[in-house]
Symmetry: C2
Subunit: 409 residues, 2 copies
Amino acid sequence: MSPSRLSQLLAAQHAGTPGNRIVRTMSERGALSATEIARLTGMARSTVSTALTGLKQSGIVIEAGEQGEIAKGVGRPPVTLVLNPDAGTCIGVHLSLDSIQLVVADVSHSVIAERSIDLGLDYPVEAATSAIKDAVARLYKEHGLPLSRLLGVGVSVSGPVSPDGTVQRSSIVPGWTGMDVIKTFRGLFDRPAYADNESNCAAIAEMMWGAAAGESNFVLFKIDLGVGGAIVHNGEVIRGIAGGAGEFGHISIEPGGDLCRCGSRGCLEVYASFNRPLVQMQRMHGRHMTMDDVILLAERGDSGARRLIADTAEIAGRGLATIGTIINPPLIIIGGRLALAGDMLLGPLQHAYDKYTHIKPAKGAPRQTRIIAGKLTENDSLLGAIGLVLRNQGKLERAVYAAPRRRYG
Amino acid sequence: MSPSRLSQLLAAQHAGTPGNRIVRTMSERGALSATEIARLTGMARSTVSTALTGLKQSGIVIEAGEQGEIAKGVGRPPVTLVLNPDAGTCIGVHLSLDSIQLVVADVSHSVIAERSIDLGLDYPVEAATSAIKDAVARLYKEHGLPLSRLLGVGVSVSGPVSPDGTVQRSSIVPGWTGMDVIKTFRGLFDRPAYADNESNCAAIAEMMWGAAAGESNFVLFKIDLGVGGAIVHNGEVIRGIAGGAGEFGHISIEPGGDLCRCGSRGCLEVYASFNRPLVQMQRMHGRHMTMDDVILLAERGDSGARRLIADTAEIAGRGLATIGTIINPPLIIIGGRLALAGDMLLGPLQHAYDKYTHIKPAKGAPRQTRIIAGKLTENDSLLGAIGLVLRNQGKLERAVYAAPRRRYG
């Protein structure tokens, strides 16, 4: 994931609600009048006005006039609005295979800054936490944000995390196995910390801002270099007693099959991830290739690339059919980088799902499971880490908005 | 299921709480004094007194003295207590392959009466509803219960039922496919009706009175002549958009495997139900045998019977491991008639589960999935049908207890 792509994605993602567009514009431009906001965002003045009323009521935006009441009376200049620095920020962290991604957002769900830290495989916990602490300090300084108004830290982990915060064996960040992530990050920033598996975070992100917005019952199924997922019931991610719920990649589909990195044999991930197809493509083309390269080739009509995507879709669809038989969800969101292959993936995936699942989708019949691609595929886990904090915001909001508003500037 | 076994089971099941023992005794004996109740139930006078206070407060038991206040003053005879006929009753119905089971219970969760109606395979809906209506009328007359105080009807169906009450294809009661069970039973008794799949009902029963009492997150896995189950999250059964959640028997474990009654191939049920082993045993012994017969033979040391149970357990354990990988529940309850084989089943089942599931149980480690046998195996679905009504009792109770208490007798 390149930071520039992340920014683009976030910009697009925040294009949706007027409130978020305003906050984003204000965080880029600083103090602005309502007229300037309307001009810069291209939104109607009435839309801006309505959104500003909400933002002011929730304490996210304040009038710069509050700096000194006297200025207001002189010739009635347009009221200048600023983001309330007291409304607070939160940090999202994604602990992945060989790097750590960071994102800073405010309580209006607007992303303020992001950073990626490369650490190499099997990075130790101490190196990671110290790099995170430094990067956060720099980010807050660069953006003139007070760390004193940090509300909480959300951590997405590439591996199962028990509800009490312990990273389980079989994660892809072995240095963290057995660590209490919640305790570690609570200590690091002296603030509330929340942690969950990366796919569970992805589901939270899709539910808050993506393809599952407005849905409270769905399954997320990720197809990437690994296979994973999440189950959301009544708006809550099912975590399992050890944090293992939704580990779809490790369904045993071949009792005597090939060894999996998790220590079992014949796991779905061995056959339905894009790991082996990628190796085959690299061998065939005699050069390093990414999943994006293969998808691009397939889009241009390369039959080998298309075949590998279709074959992966078929076996993934069989695995997904098992999940459908067990959960029968109203909605399945396909995440992971292979979801970017669009219909080349979704077509054969749906076909295999229909063939192998118990409740068959029938044309025009009600109560069918819908299968669609996710919207935040490339950054879902990182955004979900922010989501972990924001979903606990009910508690935080009271603390924040009960605090006296400090003067701005 | 023989009615006498059901009575025994219910008697044992109700042995637990003093309140239920009192209600059961009173429903058998009629009007009693507290002293007589203590003698008949064998409970301490103080225990009876405490339980009676609760039962009186909730309007389940009333003083017969309320029949005529004058009698009370004469020589202070012991107060005679009776069940309040106004507290109401509910009906549980289980629609199974070739017969229908009925049970009548009161709001204190005590079973008052039960009945079984044999109808033969593929019985039509009209024959069933008319037989049910007649049987209920007779049962209420026999027990002197007023049908006017019927609170609701719960229906357990041997097949998936959508949350809006429609029986899905792939049920084993084909005559009911596409029927709205809720509407049918609401019309039949002019009372609220509730309906769910038999395994979901079984899970409700185990949660209310059985092996999952006090648990709000667990999986029920049934091994019988079919394989089925249920997922309970935060005390609520996950039903799925079409009522298909928990259809564990129809996970496809062999893409090109044998045809299943559901229309798919290689379903878990084909290999992990006790259907084929039973046919083998019958062929081997040259006579009709039930699952109970095979379990009895196995208990007496018959190595063929033991081997078939163990082999079934192994493949069922593999299927269960998939469910464990997907849900990672704190608790798994094994239901179905094969659960009566006890450790002969549970031993190899646990072994296969540990081998094939993602989060391996480790000795002494916290956050392990516990696998135990159900407690209400033989009647779980029927009792769960009562549970469907009682779980909605919050609403009902207000209506009942707000009504003026009618004089008794």
